[in-house]
Symmetry: C2
């Protein structure tokens, strides 16, 4: 029963990718908590999760490669495996963005704490929703839910732009807190990039489900 | 003679990827020229190249998918096609970084011009060398040349860090030029990210040539 065996392997690949997604989501949540609490222990924990993500990325790639080599899948199964390879890369990069946020949080922990007129948690929350929806869309083969992720990306882009403008203004008015403002600018950009990776995942789900390529058909506010 | 036909298709795929690489390199060069000259026409030209890159990315992906679906390649050919899919994504993202640089150049063109104590062209030059070497490594199946790219990435990371420190200092001392300094910080980060994509390409070449996965075995200064 080679086909049954093959579909068990496909299911195992999907499970492995979901475990990888859980790690990436956790890394992002912890990094935002590290930013809010300036807890250096949390920053180190994000680095540990990132190491686990990197190992998981290799495993997923190897499983996908083995399936392609041994089973020579066709049509929708082939598209699914190719999507997994791409989604895997995007999840790993969400882990990278989380590590960058944790690094910035760590460097902020050594500076005087100030209150900035921006809402990083709200932005982080929206990015978290995007990642969850993108993964749910993958689980349920739901292209409409994936399209919702593309809409949320526009909102995150707008939030990022507002943060950049606000903090540039802070820097110009209060040069003493330039470093804190710059850290927050970089964290906002990291979140915006994590949102882009969630968008890539959603596009790959649409490619898998519909067999169409939606990349670059939506106008993006900023190119990356 | 199906195998001969298959190898013609593989060669066509490689040619298409090389054309894509040429576009990405061109986008980066023009974006740096736009930064140096603050020429808005050049910024628009980078956007046109980016549109061509996006179209080329879709074509390469489709060719790779068709080859996998119709020819069911094995071993080194399968690894090559999977590498092409990944390299394609990284080249597209180098195009994105270039577009971001051009956007920053455009917004700088409306500000008073100042001289900053950093050397963006030297950094851009090194990133250009990285991309060229990574592509040459692909052409010649040269894993040692690809390893050289990984070393250069450490140098670009160090340059980016020096730029960030220097420009933070400028912001703290001269809040009037905060916007110019922030633009230069973002451009430096865009270059550092383009270097990361060249590094990814080099790693994929090593995976293809040696069949080993070198990702995450080299310590990276910053996670992305």
């Amino acid at each position: 029963m080679p086909r049954i065996h093959f579909h068990q392997q496909l299911a195992a690949l999907k499970d492995k990718l979901l475990a990888m997604a859980a790690l990436s989501q956790q890394a992002l949540e912890f990094s935002l908590n590290a930013y809010l609490t300036l807890d250096v222990g949390l920053c180190n924990h994000v680095r540990e999760i990132e190491a686990a993500i990197n190992a998981a990325e290799r495993d997923v790639d190897q499983m996908a490669y083995d399936l392609l080599a041994k089973e020579q899948p066709m049509a929708i199964d082939l598209r699914f495996i190719l999507s997994v390879i791409k989604i895997n890369g995007d999840l790993e990069r969400i882990g990278d963005q989380s590590t960058n946020i944790a690094q910035r949080a760590q460097s902020m922990s050594g500076l005087p704490q100030i209150s900035l007129p921006i809402d990083i948690p709200a932005m982080g929350e929206k990015v978290g929703v995007m990642i969850r929806c993108a993964i749910q869309a993958l689980l349920e083969a739901d292209a409409r839910l994936a399209e919702h992720v593309l809409q949320l990306d526009d909102e995150v882009d707008a939030m990022n732009h507002a943060v950049q403008d606000e903090l540039l203004n802070v820097m110009q008015q209060h040069s003493l807190v330039s470093e804190q403002a710059l850290n927050a600018i970089i964290i906002s950009r990291n979140l915006e990039r994590a949102a882009d990776h969630a968008t890539n995942i959603a596009e790959d789900v649409i490619f898998w489900v519909r067999g169409s390529d939606v990349r670059h058909k939506f106008s993006l506010d900023e190119a990356d």
